[in-house]
């Protein structure tokens, strides 16, 4: 619909991991179980936006994030950065891609090498990518620490001397050291306390503004994703259920799963107490994804077509896509709330 090219596009990506291969299965001559972490995922990340990816455990959101930075290679399909298939990049081209697309990790304890000082961690990124002449590196480190609001004396210290929130800031500083265009943040704040979460989220919002970053924000916390994102991708069992502008998703979700997810997330309003369970049933195992719609087993609106035919993502409102056979699901609410306005 647009003439410009998305900065990062995911085109029909699938990813399988081999699961446990039990003796019984071997004896029966059956193939090993495979976890279908992603199946046929397609989405675009536009330059300068924050794209939220949300879903429950096993939905494939972390696998997708890792495919985007090429920590995983896609089994099928392609991830394109600026139009180039990233699986074709080698040598210096690959390093250039790494420089332009960075990742920040979830675990504030595991994501920093415990035997290196902050200065060594950030300095290594600067020197490997030759971001600054050697003599300017200490000054640049100080600048980066200031950017993520860490005290200047942090440089000489080791990761274990910092709190969880501070460690995440170090992770952000390391990613920013190579002046990337895209940052993929995988559950950036979910290991942090609420008040510290807010600090890091604010920092990310400010940095994005200042440095014109494109951010892919992967999280399980719907409130947080809604707050930070321009557009939101809702995933379930390795597939995209809905892609919507954040406001539209929250006012008028067009997929039953998005709606259930919204209802299940507890709101900060004691007046809204509700005793009805948003969604019954269990998360199915990704070892055995049902044919048809992956959500069919728990969907309150399921009908016979859902169990045999997998619905494809198709347009709903402006900039809104959903994968559901009920094409007018949520249409009434959408008409009531939104005077048709383009997404962002």
């Amino acid at each position: 619909m647009n003439t410009h090219r998305p900065i990062l596009s995911v085109d029909g990506v699938s990813k399988r991991f081999s699961g446990p291969y039990s003796l019984l299965r071997r004896l029966k001559g059956e193939p090993p179980l495979a976890v279908h972490a992603l199946s046929n995922v397609t989405l675009d990340v536009e330059r300068g936006e924050t794209l939220g990816i949300v879903g429950e455990s096993g939905c494939g959101k972390s696998t997708l994030a890792r495919c985007m930075v090429r920590l995983h290679e896609a089994d099928d399909g392609a991830v394109r950065f600026d139009g180039t298939d990233i699986s074709n990049l080698h040598g210096s081209a690959r390093r250039a891609f790494n420089r332009r697309v960075q990742m920040i990790f979830q675990d504030p304890y595991g994501s920093l090498n415990p035997r290196m000082t902050v200065q060594q961690i950030i300095g290594e990124a600067l020197s490997v990518h030759k971001m600054r002449p050697k003599a300017d590196i200490p000054a640049r480190i100080a600048e980066l620490l200031d950017l993520v609001r860490l005290p200047a004396d942090a440089a000489a210290r080791y990761p274990h001397e910092f709190s969880g929130g501070q460690r995440q800031r170090i992770g952000i500083a390391r990613a920013l050291a190579v002046e990337p265009e895209v940052i993929v943040a995988d559950e950036l704040v979910s290991a942090l306390d609420v008040s510290v979460q807010a600090q890091v989220v604010n920092l990310l919002l400010q940095l994005q503004e200042k440095l014109h970053l494109t951010v892919v924000f992967v999280a399980h916390d719907l409130r947080l994703v809604r707050h930070i994102s321009h557009r939101v991708v809702v995933m379930y069992l390795g597939q995209i259920m809905e892609i919507s502008p954040a406001d539209a998703l929250f006012s008028a979700p067009r997929h039953p799963y998005s709606k259930a997810l919204l209802e299940a997330a507890p709101e900060l309003d004691p007046g809204q107490k509700n005793r009805n369970v948003a969604l019954r049933g269990e998360l199915p195992s990704p070892l055995n994804v049902p044919p048809g719609c992956p959500f069919a087993g728990r969907c309150p609106h399921v009908f016979d077509r859902c169990t045999v035919e997998r619905p494809l993502l198709s347009p709903r409102g402006p900039g809104q896509l959903a994968a559901c056979h009920l094409t007018d699901f949520g249409a009434a609410e959408a008409a009531a709330t939104l005077p048709a306005q383009p997404g962002h």
Binding site: A198, L268, P270
Partner: protein, 340 residues
């Protein structure tokens, strides 16, 4: 305690839980850590009370201290009144009858709280064996009934399965079934949904509310998630650095927080209609329990702090019926621009 008259009438008239001056300390290599200090709160029958705070605030320690589940070198003092008896001073033998009988507890991580080598059914029956005089077949029937109450499908078959064969949500249900075995009057829940996905969390929270109604039991729910408190609790107590800083009904506290920490916590959580705006975060990080600041423990992070906050610790004052706050400037805080 200054204004305990209001509460004594309550503890006399009914048989709820009354906690007074509960203090738990740990002797560590870095000095004495005061994990919970002078904690006062009440739980009326049938009431759901939320204990909210961040990591290290003392919420879980408080819950465990009620059941005396604090291991050496931890020390518990104060009073925990339950049915006219003091759980802190009670002999171990008697306490065993209360634990798992009248008061039950569920934990955050059901996989570690359940015994991995025993079938779920056996673990439920174990509790019945300890606290009731039921025969083997009666126990089996009761276990089946409990599995149905907590909503585990195909209960007959699942009684003989092991914890690893259950999903996270089902494990939490199984743990609740064990806790309910002897129809407790008080359920202590320590972050019961933190490890669960949001749709499963929603199911478990609503199950707890249903059970509260059906069994007329009280619940103390420890959580860090204010959304969970809003959705489930009647009253709440906010903890910071081992102390309760504010209590009241959930509606009151959310509508008009009187403590700057409560206010900051509420502001830290993203709400609808304010996309991509700065959150009202709290600067800094919680203090170490071995090196608490002088005066009010929150003052280094507080935008309302003045000289008195650096020198004098504010008492937990009564400011309305069942409404308490520990802040020198609570009126100012309450009068500040609303954040919700």
């Amino acid at each position: 305690m200054t204004a305990s008259t209001a509460q004594t009438t309550m503890s006399d008239g009914t048989k709820g839980l009354v906690v007074r001056g509960l203090t738990t300390t740990f002797d560590t290599t870095r000095g004495l850590a005061i994990a919970a200090a002078d904690v006062d709160f009440d739980v009326a029958p049938g009431e759901v009370v939320g204990l909210v705070g961040e990591s290290g605030s003392g919420k879980s320690v408080t819950l465990r201290s009620i059941m005396r589940l604090i291991r050496e070198p931890g020390k518990v003092s104060g009073r925990v009144e339950w049915g006219g008896r003091d759980l802190v001073a009670m002999p171990a033998e008697e306490l065993r009858k209360v634990r798992g009988g009248e008061i039950a507890m569920i934990f955050q991580e059901p996989m570690t709280a359940l015994n991995p080598v025993l079938p779920i059914g056996v673990q439920i029956e174990e509790n019945l064996k300890a606290h009731t005089g039921l025969t083997g077949s009666q126990r089996r029937a009761r276990a089946l009934e409990l599995m149905n109450i907590v909503g585990i499908p195909a209960a007959e078959r699942r009684l003989d399965e092991y914890p690893h064969q259950f999903s996270g949500g089902m494990r939490q249900r199984a743990m609740i079934a064990i806790a309910l075995a002897c129809s407790p009057k008080l359920l202590l829940a320590d972050e019961p949904t933190t490890a669960l996905d949001v749709t499963i969390q929603d199911q478990i929270l609503k199950l707890l509310l249903d059970l509260r109604d059906r069994l007329a039991m009280s619940v103390v729910l420890v959580t860090h998630d204010l959304g969970v408190v809003a959705a489930t609790c009647d009253r709440m107590a906010v903890m910071y650095a081992g102390r309760i800083v504010e209590t009241g009904t959930v509606a009151e506290v959310f509508a008009r927080p009187h403590h700057p920490y409560t206010r900051g916590l509420l502001g830290s959580v993203p709400r609808s209609g304010h996309s991509r705006t700065m959150l009202q975060s709290i600067d800094g990080t919680p203090p170490s329990l071995t090196a608490l600041p002088q005066g009010c423990a929150f003052h280094p992070r507080c935008s309302f702090a003045t000289e008195i906050c650096r020198t004098d610790r504010p008492p937990l004052d009564l400011i309305g019926a069942g409404r308490r706050v520990a802040c020198h400037h609570h009126e100012e805080v309450a009068a500040a621009e609303p954040i919700l």
